[in-house]
């Protein structure tokens, strides 16, 4: 028998006990090295043992419970999806979308972790697997060809009880099963299972360990006399070029995902929690601060932040404010959407990237603005990075996601029902004077954002250290101007009359233009400006970005000059 790199058979690659929480196990199957780790939610990940960045082994990485962090350069990969969530030194502190490490199928059963070189075959229990309380022996690695190991194990069977060869390099006699894990052409691990729990576990383990160690010594002595087999040569996929390049901020609308409302509950007075679960398997990786567009039954689209912590990809949890007066999206969601309903969401996108290289991080939330900051706090928490979370709620309003907040280990400060004047002082104290590598993130009602921006600026915080996200542009858009836009790449000049946005004009001319909020809040339609003076009316860009005059939102921004040249 020769081993094949593409053999789809499921083999055991570890014992359950090999994977205590916050450890990364180093395994190998058919020549491929594996990083195997259990996340805090119990999920076992089997990945190619290689950081996409430089190919450094992930088995020397840090298991942070929801993400695995490469020790050399700090790239992070999420539980379940192996999606990259963080590229240090990246200008936006964010990865390009869909950078994923290679994963392998995994199943935990009978005290062992099973995997396969590909997912062409579904996992099937071995013959006679069901109905027993299996007991795993100490695995014994052997430097000998897997087929020789299998033959030798068969030879252990007593004369009156011949060994039964099973598919997948396994052999059985009496109540004992041996599986040979084909590590490589000349290496294997013997993994034994007993059908019952023994009376004296340690004595039994020692007995079999001695037996198998002797077998191993014999096998290795005879392997040393033979020529060593050529090791298998797994090919690694080339790392794609977009790893090195900047991700596009403008993400075309398009791919939607169907999710089921798994749970709907009252998280606080006026705040409804929704748990949206993927229909099969996990949802895409997201970064802290990311949001999804939710397509509502009435045709509207609304953005909601994902509150989950790192690597929690089985469902997204969002919080929706129930505004009695609102006729908008939230009302439909709160009143008509029920548990069990199906909804469409976009892939998560992030306009609110969290820096993980800060010395001090201050998170300030007002009311429902807690949602993106809860996610950020959870990421910082899992990575043991210092942060302070200040959560302002009005008198009468209750605290949403309280138990989730109380489960955090960092500093969480609730400010409830403060009078307006005191909110200002509380914010000033929370911020303190700025110094190197301090960052503040704010999400809340417009006036609160303004207070934080003004206070921070007054206390020496530079623009780059103040991060905020608007879901709504409260400003009145002045669309009275008229001007020409020259679309450099499309070789087209269009006239934008008063009363129409650049985006509308471009669409009328037959161009596909990505957008989401269409009110200058989300950044989806961000466009590079080549020439001309922009009349920014969005709330997405900060003042210095606006002054730079190098990009704009085509949904609300206009021109102060007679002509704008855009990189479209």
């Amino acid at each position: 028998m020769t081993l094949s790199l593409s053999d789809p058979t499921w083999y055991p690659i570890a014992s359950s006990e090999d994977l205590p929480f916050r450890h990364v196990y180093q395994g190998q199957l058919l020549g491929r090295e594996l990083a195997v780790w259990r996340a805090d939610d119990g999920n076992v990940n089997v990945w190619e043992n290689r950081c996409l960045h430089r190919g450094v082994r992930l088995s020397i990485g840090i298991n942070e419970g929801g993400e695995l962090k490469c020790q050399y350069h700090g790239w992070r990969y999420a539980n379940r999806s192996a999606g990259c969530t963080y590229i240090p030194a990246h200008p936006a502190d964010a990865p390009a979308r869909r950078i994923q490490n290679r994963t392998y199928p995994v199943r935990e059963a009978y005290g062992l972790i099973w995997s396969a070189a590909n997912d062409q075959q579904a996992f099937r229990p071995f013959a006679g697997a069901e109905g027993h309380d299996w007991f795993a022996l100490r695995p014994v690695p052997v430097n000998a060809a897997p087929e020789d190991v299998l033959a030798a194990l068969g030879g252990l069977a007593p004369d009156d009880q011949p060994a039964d060869l099973l598919p997948g390099l396994a052999v059985r006699f009496g109540g004992i099963y041996y599986f040979v894990q084909p590590v490589d052409a000349g290496r294997a691990v013997i993994r034994g299972l007993l059908r019952e729990q023994p009376v004296d576990a340690v004595a039994t383990l020692r007995h079999y360990n001695e037996l198998l160690s002797k077998l191993r010594d014999r096998l290795e002595r005879s392997a040393a006399r033979k020529p060593a087999p050529e090791p298998l040569q797994p090919a690694y996929d080339k790392v794609s070029a977009d790893l090195a390049t900047m991700p596009d901020i403008a993400i075309p609308k398009g791919n939607t995902i169907t999710v089921m409302v798994k749970r709907k509950w009252v998280s606080a007075d006026g705040v409804i929690g929704f748990e949206l679960a993927g229909r099969d398997g996990h949802l895409p990786t997201f970064q802290p601060g990311a949001h999804i567009d939710l397509h509502l039954p009435n045709g509207m689209t609304r953005q909601y932040s994902i509150t989950n912590g790192p690597g929690e990809l089985m469902s997204y949890i969002i919080g929706v404010k129930q505004e009695s007066a609102s006729k908008g999206g939230s009302k439909v969601l709160v009143e008509t959407v029920r548990e069990g309903d199906l909804l469409s969401i976009s892939e998560p996108r992030n306009n609110f990237p969290l820096r993980r290289d800060a010395i001090r991080t201050v998170l300030i939330a007002g009311g429902i603005g807690i949602t993106p900051l809860l996610s950020m706090a959870r990421f910082l928490d899992k990575s043991a990075l210092p942060y302070e979370l200040h959560y302002f709620t009005r008198a009468g309003e209750t605290v949403a996601f309280r138990s989730e907040l109380e489960a955090l280990h960092g500093k969480v400060i609730f400010h409830t029902g403060l009078p307006r004047a005191e909110i200002g002082t509380a914010i000033a104290t929370a911020l303190g004077q700025w110094s190197m590598a301090q960052h503040v993130y704010v999400c809340g009602p417009g006036p609160m954002l303004e207070t934080v921006r003004d206070t921070a600026a007054a206390q020496g915080w530079p623009d780059e250290s103040i991060h905020f996200e608007y879901f709504k542009n409260d400003k009145i858009i002045d669309n009275s101007s008229a001007f020409d836009v020259e679309l450099a790449r499309s070789a087209m000049t269009l006239h934008v009359p008063s009363g129409k946005s650049i985006m509308e004009v471009m669409r009328e001319a037959g161009l596909t233009v990505p957008s989401s909020c269409e009110q200058g809040a989300c950044g989806t339609c961000l466009t590079t400006v080549i020439e001309g003076e922009v009349d920014h009316q969005d709330v997405y860009l900060n003042d210095s970005e606006k002054r730079a005059n190098s990009c704009m939102m085509t949904c609300v921004s206009r021109a102060k000059s007679a002509r704008l040249v855009l990189d479209i």
Binding site: A14, E17, D18, P20, F21, R22, H23, Y25, Q26, G27, Q28, E33, D40, I60, I62, N63, E64, G65, K69, Q71, R138, P139, P141, V189, A201, V202, L205, R206, N209, S213, A384, H409
Partner: protein, 216 residues
């Protein structure tokens, strides 16, 4: 009285002492010795401190000491008020010294392979690697059964001892000598535990471990 360590940053044997002194919160001065490429450990001034021509050397006031295992014992007995790092019990003393001897075996195999590959020493690399694998196999078995019997460390007390510190560095640096630890999962888990000892410090080539799940 001042403690002075004659130190080479990349030496695992010197690191053992930095590690224990860090854990015991001792203050000490460092005199860097250019072991490679300068070979200062064979210079006259150094041979006067330690005629064996080996790092590390530690001076504590008038006392000059050499051999990392001996110095670990000295530091623990003199400065560890808890008495945990080198317990007084005769049977445990024997156990700890047994593993100090294993630490020396690891030095003569895993460290030798690393010196050959990384520092161009003229050693038999394959022989050194084979020797290291033989020791790692035994350690893995010892630690694996330890976990089954409720023992997390090399010796029987429910806390680490100088034996763990003595064996740790060259196990951790073994990859630099071309010795993979893939076949020793229990040994790899033990290195996680050592790296989670409060006040643990790193050296180049030795990374910190993540937090354990219960802490924080």
């Amino acid at each position: 009285m001042a403690i002075t360590l004659y130190d080479f940053e990349l030496s695992g044997n010197c690191y053992k002492l930095r590690l224990l002194m860090g854990i015991l919160k001792l203050r000490y001065d460092i005199v860097p010795v250019d072991f490679y490429p300068g070979r200062q450990h064979k210079a006259d001034w150094f041979l006067r401190l330690n005629p064996f021509g080996q790092l590390p050397v530690l001076q504590d006031g008038d006392l000059t000491l050499s051999d990392s295992g001996a110095i670990l014992t000295y530091l623990a007995k003199k400065y560890d008020e808890t008495g945990l790092w080198f317990p007084d019990d005769p049977a445990i003393t024997a156990e700890v010294l047994r593993w100090h001897a294993v630490a020396d075996d690891i030095t003569s195999t895993a460290s030798a392979a690393r010196l050959a590959l990384g520092f161009f020493y003229d050693f038999d690399v394959e022989k050194a690697q084979r020797g290291a694998h033989r020791i790692f196999r035994l350690m893995d078995e010892h630690l694996w059964f330890g976990e089954r019997e409720g023992r997390d460390w090399l010796c029987s007390p429910a806390h680490p001892t100088t034996a763990d510190i003595a064996c740790f560095p060259y196990v951790m640096l073994s990859e630099e000598g071309g010795i993979s630890r893939q076949d020793y999962p229990a040994l790899r888990r033990w290195t996680d535990r050592v790296r989670r000892i409060p006040a643990f410090t790193v050296m180049s080539g030795v990374f910190p471990a993540g937090r354990a799940v219960e802490e924080a």
